[in-house]
Every structure is written in structure tokens, then in C-alpha cells.
């Protein structure tokens, strides 16, 4: 511990006298160890506010973190294994009018789409959609819909032990239905690993989210069977 360190602590808190700042910044700029110390202060602050699950765990097993840095390759591989790779590839936008579910408002959107306001709304919608899709992928309970549907007419059965999952042979999916707050007029779908997330607007003002290893045509059949 020395006076420089103490002054860094005070500058970190915005409590250092102005006339001392310039010289200290110069010293820090030339000393990687002091820069590292500053970051460690930040880390200590994060830890003081830390609540369980606030930082994503890459390994749920209790284990010692001793020498964690010397095993960095291990933590990297765990990260790769445990992290959800958000390959949010927008595969396509299906033209909803062809799906015979709802085609209203399409022309209005087309005529308004070049306005500044419309672009802002669309950008906001895209942000909301991105948030939503990320939640579908990352929150395991999010797709646990309370709705129990009879989808036998399209060949899918609800799995008895996994009430939220519907399956047909090797195909399976989860779904949730809610009000169409996204303003979706077309089917949108995203690929994530070997599954696809479909958002299908329904004619009654709701939207169904289907997440599984099924084709677009199957997703449409499911959506039609709901309405």
C-alpha cells in the first residue's frame, strides 16, 4: 500500500482534489499494474453489489477457484459448453398473406414505411423482438406455457412428463401464446442451433411462439390449428 494507491482509490470515488488529478493520471497511464488495480477496484465494487444469478455462472458445480487463471483454457471451454450461442440468424421473413391467416394492414404499412416515425417504430419493434427472442432462448421457463392445447389433429402429443413440450416422432417444440404486442403481420423466424423460433401472428390479435425442431409448414399447420 502506498500513497499513489490511496489516491487512485480517492480518484475512483471522485474525491480527489482537482490539482492532484493530472499528475496521477499521467502516472496511471504509464503503469499497467496501477491500471489493473483500478479494474480490481471496479471488480470489488461489482462483488459488493453481487446477488446470486446476477452474473451468469459458467459452471454450476461447486469447486475451488484457486488458480482459476492458470486454468483459463478450462474456463473457456466451460464457457463454450454452458453459454447459449446466440446465433440469431434471421433466416427469412415469410409473406404472411400467403398463409391465409391474416393479411390486413399490409398496404398501410407499405405506404407508411418510408416515414421517419414509421422507421422509428419499426426499429423499436425490432429491438423488442430481439429482446423477446433472446429471452425465448435463454430463459428455460419462458416457454412453459400454461395453455394446454390439443394438437392431435396435426399429429403432436403433449409429453406427459414435460407438459409444455409437444412431440411427433423426433420433432418436438414448445409454444406460448400471447397478445400480438409486436405488431407482427408476417411470420418471422430465427434459427438457433438445430432449432427454429417461429413467431406466427394469429387472426384474433394474438401471436404464437413456437420453438423447436420443426419446419415452417409444420409451424403454420400448428398455428392454424390453434385458430
Amino acid at each position: 500500500m502506498n500513497d499513489i494507491d490511496k489516491k487512485i482509490s480517492e480518484l475512483y470515488d471522485g474525491e480527489l482534489d482537482h490539482d492532484e488529478i493530472e499528475g496521477l493520471l499521467e502516472i496511471i497511464s504509464g503503469d499497467p499494474e496501477l491500471q489493473k488495480k483500478l479494474s480490481m477496484y471496479s471488480l470489488a465494487g461489482i462483488a459488493s453489489d453481487f446477488k446470486t444469478n446476477e452474473v451468469v455462472s459458467i459452471n454450476s458445480n461447486e469447486r475451488s477457484n484457486k488458480n482459476i487463471f492458470s486454468n483459463i483454457w478450462l474456463s473457456n471451454s466451460l464457457t463454450a459448453a454452458a453459454s447459449v450461442l446466440l446465433t440469431l440468424t434471421i433466416v427469412n421473413n415469410a409473406d404472411f398473406s400467403r398463409m391465409d391467416i391474416s393479411s390486413s394492414s399490409t398496404n398501410q404499412i407499405s405506404s407508411a414505411i418510408n416515414s421517419k416515425e414509421a422507421k422509428e417504430v419499426i426499429n423499436k419493434s425490432e429491438e423488442n423482438l430481439a429482446d423477446y427472442i433472446i429471452r425465448v432462448i435463454n430463459d428455460p421457463n419462458f416457454m412453459n406455457s400454461n395453455e394446454s392445447l390439443d394438437l392431435r389433429n396435426v399429429g403432436f402429443l403433449s409429453e406427459s412428463k414435460k407438459a409444455y413440450t409437444y412431440s411427433r416422432g423426433k420433432e418436438n417444440f414448445k409454444l406460448r401464446i400471447e397478445k400480438n404486442n409486436f405488431g407482427l403481420k408476417k411470420i418471422r423466424y430465427w434459427k438457433h442451433e438445430n432449432k427454429i423460433i417461429y413467431l406466427v401472428p394469429l387472426s384474433d390479435g394474438r401471436v404464437v411462439t413456437i420453438y423447436g425442431n420443426i419446419s415452417l409448414s409444420t409451424a403454420i399447420s400448428i398455428a392454424k390449428s390453434i385458430t
Binding site: 494507491d5 497511464s29 477496484y41 471496479s42 465494487g45 459488493s48 477457484n65 440468424t89 429491438e127
Partner: protein, 191 residues
Amino acid sequence: MKKNSNDNDSVLIERVKNGDKGAFNFLVNKYYPRVYASLFSYTKSKEDSEDLAQQTFLKVWQQIESFRGDSAFFTWIYRIAINLAKNHFVSSGYKKQKVNTSIENAEIEISSYENIEAVLMHDQSMKQIKEFINNMPESLKTAFTLRESEGKSYEEISLITETPIGTVRSRIFRARESIIDYMQKELIGNE
């Protein structure tokens, strides 16, 4: 009440607005771990969090003039970071974008972060540090917590704890040094 960082950082921010790269690097070092942690919780990807954090600070440098201090500085940075993350997912088709971090001959100094990221990604480590803080001597813990978690100024802490302000300075500093020492010995294995 969370820390009102715009007050804490106002002097440094003004210096950055005047082109002080040393002040900017100080703020980068101060906020990179928090930005990285926020991005990691959003992206779940180490590489993307690194790329997006670099893009974030590049934008901070480019747009610092537009920061008026209406919100906390970190809140402003956080908004930039999350918007970049959203745009990254929505518009890029998740293409990797390497960012040139060179800013008019000033390099953002981020070379020392790799190890810290490793700690950040382990909530077990965070729990251990939190537990260590909870077990610190009461006087250090109180001063440190009032500062970090409650955002109190040294003067406010002095009034609350009925302690001279010089003692408050020392206690917060000693608490930090103690926590860093613990991290080095117990988590990093780098005594």
C-alpha cells in the same frame, strides 16, 4: 440509492471532453468490468462481450460531447452497450466485427482484463468475494458498503458514521486493498 456516478466522474468527463486521453483511459479501466459483465449477461458470449465492450468505449469516446450529465455516467455507457448488443444481433446476422480500438493515436488500454473476465464469469468467485466483504472488520465493511452499494460521498459517510473524513478515506482504501489482496491470494493464486 445507487452511486451517482455522474457526480463522481464529472471532473474526469470534462477532461475527456477536452481531449484528455489519460482521463478517458481511467474511465475505461473503471467501467470496463461492469460493461463487460452487463454484455456477458446479455450475450452469454465472451468473444462478443469483448468486441461489444470495445465498440462501446469507442462510441463513448466519439460521443462524449453529447453526455450532459442528466443520468449517471454508467447508465449512459450501459445504454450504448446494450443498444450495440441489440443491433449486433438484429442487423448483422451475428457476423463477427473486429473493432479497431485505436482512437486518434490513443489506445484503449484493455490488455489486463482477460483475467478479470475469468473472475467475472464465475458467480462462485463473486460469492466468495461478497462473503469476504461481509466478514471484514465492521468499520471497513460499513465504510466500503456505504460507498460502493449506497453511493454515499466521503462526507456523507463521515456524518453517518461520526468519523473524521480522513478516517473514512483510509477505511475505504484499506477495505479495497484487503479485498484485492484476497482476490490475488484466494482466487487468482498470484500472491
